[in-house]
Symmetry: none
Subunit: 193 residues, 4 copies
DNA sequence: AGCTAAACGAGACGGTACGTCCCGTCTTCAT
DNA sequence: ATGAAGACGGGACGTACCGTCTCGTTTAGCT
């Protein structure tokens, strides 16, 4: 049985919050453990005791949901296109908050630079995509979406497209939302009729 | 008229090459100006004279084409789907080279962390997308692709989807290529008829 | 009550010793903090934590007696002239060791360039002169030396004369010792008789 | 016959003046060739063409009399003590001008750190002492000063004592002047009568 | 209630890299 | 050929953080 003082959950929480804030403000590149420790009112050793490196810390931040907080869900109105479009629109709206976009870019950079972060990032992203995948599969069962259209890939491409816009700091306006939905549902081909 | 010694183009080139290599090996996060200066056989001041910050240096690297060298073009066989699929496949193949994927991740991180890099990144990406856009517009004119399908957004989404796979270190296998092409051309909807 | 890790006295000592050696070898002008840190096996920040500038470091070196170690004392044989001459001769001999002369020049330069060092330099010099002053005062009490001859000024002039020779790299030979003593005790005037 | 443009004496003069000013303001330690070149409106190469190093430059400054400008002379009133005391007092007064004292300290530091400067320094100092030596020798011939009192050493000790006070930033007040003169002429010994 | 040992905040440690300043050399164009 | 301008390779500066290592000081769980 464990002897000695138990770890402080308050400290842990303070560390993760401070990490999220530092990530938002400075990006992954300029994340500073010293700064986080000070902001969290915590000794540096307390951080290093639990997170052997910057990337583990960011990864845990991700795992604990401090970064992608609102995992979106889809509605099911019976109209799959309307539902998916609503999801895309909600994601776009949420990403228009500057701090949110900033944090997204930071965590994307972290994932790009570090394999461990990338793993958790993908895991988290998959959870986000789960809503899309679930709705699309229901639509397949309802005969509204072609089977064999690779719903995982579809979900990934939707998210990829959105992230790319955030990364390059382009507006996520409604034109984009509509065009992305159009692409996903109708493709680009002229109907052969 | 310029006075004083002219800047050394040899040094500039050596700096950019060393930057590219350091970026590939260490990522944007751990890019070291000291290391680049040593590798390029150049004083640090020579780097700082021309590039006031790490990000400007990386941005120029991007602008000068040291990073995305092989800008892909599309063929025009008359079959737009075949042509676009070939382009996607070529991009995927090229990204399977570990060093190339590594450099892509590094530059993506750089773009995520820095606005100036992001601007050049997008500019460069747009050039890459130009080939896709051109081919798609030709197809529109040929009546093979629906007008008003937002070819810019389509090209962006293709690239976004591909980058997302590279970022998360997933295989860019042929299944993915085919599914992405299917999505782009046919969309996911069951034909209504 | 002090919090955090206590400062390392071992490091402090190593820094001061390395400073003394660097001062001897390179002079004050070319003193290098980098070199001292390396020689002392210490991080540069450890030096800067305690000494905000090169001059403070040298000043502490002086205060801690790393530089003028052997403070000379005078004997008291009853013959004041013999005693003072012996002191001057001892000083001269000691200054014939090249490293000692070199260190003396370095610290003199430091005092010339920096007020803080000058203050400690003078303080240290005064301690050295103390021996002379004490012996001269005893001689005043014994009726061998005129009262009101400004023993402080006398001591200062002796040291000033010696330092001047060291500074200009002239030999501190016995002729000089004897002439200086003659000057101090008899002055230059022809007895009026 | 010399070909090409002749060396600019105006530049040389501007360099030496700028050096003197920089020396006064920053000391020998922080003398900067870049700063001198800018202040003199001269290219750095023009400095290096004529002075292979910082010390040579300072040395030439010394030789050309930019530093110890007013070489003092002695009067000859018949009263050697009055004349020498007047010289000491004039020297002291001159050194009370802060800029002059500052420059004296700088050049003393330079002499302490560099053999070449020391040589010129001593040469210049000897010229200054010449006046004292000359007056003392006249006094010897006049039977006012004991022969064999080492007039060179006496002059050196007077200058050494004065420099020591400047170095340690002590006031060169009249008490000191008087005490130094007393020491020089009467020594400290109680007349044996 | 007292003891023990881990966790805590604080902060100094040996280091690495930063971005700047200056060195002494070199190259260019104008005089 | 000399000179002002200014870029060059290089070295040291003083600062910011890194990840590690003491320091006392809590504080939980076991005796």
């Amino acid at each position: 049985m464990a002897v000695g003082r138990a770890r402080s959950e308050a400290s842990r929480r303070a560390i993760l919050l401070a990490t999220r804030d530092d990530l938002t403000e400075h990006g992954y590149d300029r994340l500073s453990i010293d700064r986080i420790a000070t902001a969290a009112g915590v000794g540096k050793q307390t951080i290093y005791r639990w997170y052997p490196s910057k990337s583990e810390l960011v990864a845990d931040c991700l795992v604990e949901g401090y970064i992608v907080r609102p995992i979106l869900t889809t509605s099911d109105t019976g109209d799959v296109r309307r539902d998916i479009t609503a999801w895309i629109r909600a994601f776009a709206e949420q990403s228009r908050v500057p701090a949110a976009a900033s944090l997204t870019r930071a965590i994307t950079a972290a994932a790009a630079e570090n394999t461990a972060v990338a793993a958790h990032y993908q895991e988290q992203a998959r959870a986000t995509q789960e809503a899309l995948v679930g709705r699309l599969e229901a639509a397949v069962r309802a005969g509204q979406v072609r089977p064999g259209s690779g719903v995982e890939t579809v979900a990934e491409t939707i998210v990829g497209g959105l992230l790319y816009r955030i990364l390059t700091r382009q507006e996520l306006d409604d034109t984009f939302v509509v065009e992305l939905a159009e692409l996903v549902f109708r493709g680009v081909l002229e109907p052969a009729d």
